[in-house]
């Protein structure tokens, strides 16, 4: 399992290929990528703040939990912080398992937990000023299914 919390951009293709090439015994790899959503071109940038130390601890715990719940061969989480432009990748999750059901479920579990339990805060910077992104009740509700 690998976790990277980083300011630098990452190469989605290169990361996915390297992840898939390194797993042995897996028949399924699922990847998810989150992009900076540009609401109709009004977004100048997105600033992502995090809590160094807790971020790594929280995500590592999620990844370990995913490994106990599903039969995973490997998992990868990359999450960026700092100032990002519209359409830039913010984060990615990759999971590898013998069969796809485990890979899909573990990827969704990690995404749901990253949304509401990893200490990141997004701020949208537009032409008219900046605003913190509010947490959605639907994101909190999504945790109940696990």
């Amino acid at each position: 399992m690998r976790l990277s919390v980083q300011e630098a951009a990452f190469d989605l293709g290169a990361e996915s290929n390297a992840f898939a090439a390194a797993v042995s015994g897996a028949g399924a790899v699922v990847t998810f990528t989150g992009l900076v959503r540009d609401n109709g071109g009004s977004l100048a940038a997105m600033e992502i703040e995090h809590y160094p130390g807790m971020t790594e601890r929280a995500i590592t715990a999620m990844m370990q939990e995913a490994k106990t719940r599903w039969s995973l061969v490997d998992a990868l989480v990359i999450h960026r912080f700092g100032v990002l432009k519209g359409s830039e990748p913010i984060m990615m999750v990759a999971t590898a398992a013998r069969h796809r059901a485990d890979a899909f479920a573990a990827a969704e579990f990690l995404m749901d937990y990253l949304k509401s339990r990893a200490p990141f805060w997004k701020k949208e910077i537009g032409a008219d000023g900046a605003a913190w992104v509010a947490a959605q009740q639907t994101d909190e509700d999504a945790l109940r299914r696990w």
Partner: protein, 82 residues
Amino acid sequence: MIDILYFAWLRERIGTNRERLETTAATVSDLVAELEARSEGHALAFADKTSLRVAVDQELADFSAPLAGVREVAFFPPMTGG
């Protein structure tokens, strides 16, 4: 001594990301009461408790969590990762 950390709009309202405090507060709630009295910014940041989350030594915690032996307490709004 406890390190208090603030993130996102709490940090902005309080005007700092970190402060160090000698406190006799027994729980997070007691600590919040102490912090609220420190400045107008603090009072504003802690006004709506339902939109606050707390981590004690980098683990999510409740406001009833005890502070004995704790080194770091962080306050922040609900997280928006992913």
